[in-house]
């Protein structure tokens, strides 16, 4: 090795004779301390991030809404056509002129007008597919249940409403048709029961997440809508029969088994 290098390396500590300035530490400390500019900058970035996130969420909701409306319109139109065919096939007492075909068409129009908030309100098969898709997404984000009593509270309030509506329907006499005539509605209701059971199973397995809760509420709302539509349809038909019937004539009475 170079002898000068060797000498200097071995006496390096003795070479260090220059002291740093007295305020060196102070300067370093002041530069390391986050000043007001820093917090202002952080707040600015946070605000910008919030605005971007909100704009993104809004855009996403708008896009989802458009997609949902289009799907419902497409789906409901198909079902209305199917319902029309059923109406003709079941038509021995079609002189009443208010068969399920019209009822489904009305429902379809209503569902489309009500927009994306009632996604899955349409026929049973579509609802099941959508619910299935949502369940897959929910499974991907498994989270433990945070508020187990919450589901119970929602359950109680919706269940009592549905039970009330069901009792009312069961007690309503059917003058024009027997229960089979409304099988479209009853099948739809059964499918929703199955959907509800599936969501409940998911909740048991993965815990109650916001997504599952939303699915459950959707199913309940769909059930209530179906029952309400069924009640309206029965009332309409009964009224027509009453109008046409002579005061002395006795109509055959059926009750719905749902």
């Amino acid at each position: 090795m170079d002898k000068l290098k060797e000498y200097l390396l071995s006496h390096q500590a003795e070479l260090d004779v220059d002291p740093p300035a007295n305020d060196s530490w102070e300067n370093i400390a002041s530069k390391l301390r986050p000043g007001p500019g820093f917090s202002r900058r952080v707040i600015g970035y946070a605000a910008a991030a919030c605005v971007i996130a909100l704009a993104g969420a809004g855009l996403w909701m708008v896009m989802q809404g458009k997609k949902g409306s289009a799907d419902i319109a497409k789906h409901v139109t198909g079902e209305a056509e199917k319902g029309g065919a059923n109406g003709v096939a079941h038509g021995p007492k079609a002189e009443v002129g208010q068969g399920p075909a019209k009822g489904v068409a009305e429902e379809a129009a209503g569902a489309v007008a009500q927009g994306p908030a009632k996604v899955g309100q349409g026929p049973a098969k579509g609802g099941a597919e959508e619910a299935g898709g949502r369940r897959h997404k929910a499974r991907a984000r498994r989270r433990p249940a945070e508020r187990p009593d919450e589901i119970e509270a929602i359950d109680k309030s919706y269940s009592s409403l549905i039970d009330y509506q069901l009792k009312k329907l069961r007690a309503t006499p059917l003058y024009a048709e027997d229960g089979h005539y409304f099988s479209f509605y009853t099948e739809q209701f059964k499918q929703m029961d199955r959907d509800e059971q599936q969501v409940r199973n998911d909740i048991k397995t993965y815990g109650l997440t916001g997504e599952f809760l939303e699915q459950l509420i959707n199913v309940y709302q769909q059930k209530l809508n179906v029952l309400k539509n069924l009640q309206t349809e029965i009332n309409k038909m009964n009224n027509k029969v009453r109008e046409k019937q002579s005061p002395s004539g006795k109509a055959e009475v059926h009750y719905l088994n749902i």
Binding site: L4, Y7, L8, L9, Q12, V17, P19, A21, S24, K31
Partner: protein
């Protein structure tokens, strides 16, 4: 650390800046230090890198420098043995930019010429010639001072 900076930059003001930058960098990236015991060496390396960066931006390397490679190391006597080290430090600081950085990195930080050439962005022969130049200047200047002071 400050002495490394002042030897590399040649003046107190730049050395102070380098020292501050090095400490700030070190504290901000403290999470990257895996062994706390190695803090000294880690900080030293950061300081040297800061100084190298500073030198790269401030030193102008002349093409003539590359021809000055004269192997004096083996020929000269050990003139430094009786020289006060404070004087050596002073004269290192007074060396011209270019040869000063090479001398400090090679003789005091134990870098090889290959490493110096890579870090400073010069050729290996430039590094060698700058080192010889620094040695020559140091000897001349220190000898002269020692003679003057008696």
């Amino acid at each position: 650390m400050y002495n490394i900076c002042i030897r590399m930059t040649g003046n107190a003001s730049d050395a102070q800046d380098m020292l501050q930058d090095a400490f700030i960098d070190a504290f901000r990236h403290l999470g990257q230090l895996k062994q706390p015991g190695a803090f000294g060496g880690w900080l030293r390396r950061i300081t040297i890198n800061k100084c190298i960066q500073f030198s790269k931006n401030h030193v102008r390397w002349s093409s003539l420098d590359q021809d000055e490679e004269t192997p004096v190391a083996d020929q000269e006597s050990a003139w430094w043995l009786n020289v006060p080290l404070a004087l050596v430090q002073e004269e290192i600081k007074n060396l011209p930019g270019g040869c000063r950085e090479v001398f400090v990195l090679f003789a005091l930080e134990d870098f090889g010429h290959k490493e110096i050439a890579r870090d400073l962005g010069v050729s290996e022969s430039t590094s060698k010639s700058q080192y010889q130049r620094a040695r020559k200047l140091l000897r001349e200047r220190i000898t002269k001072k020692v003679h003057l002071d008696g």
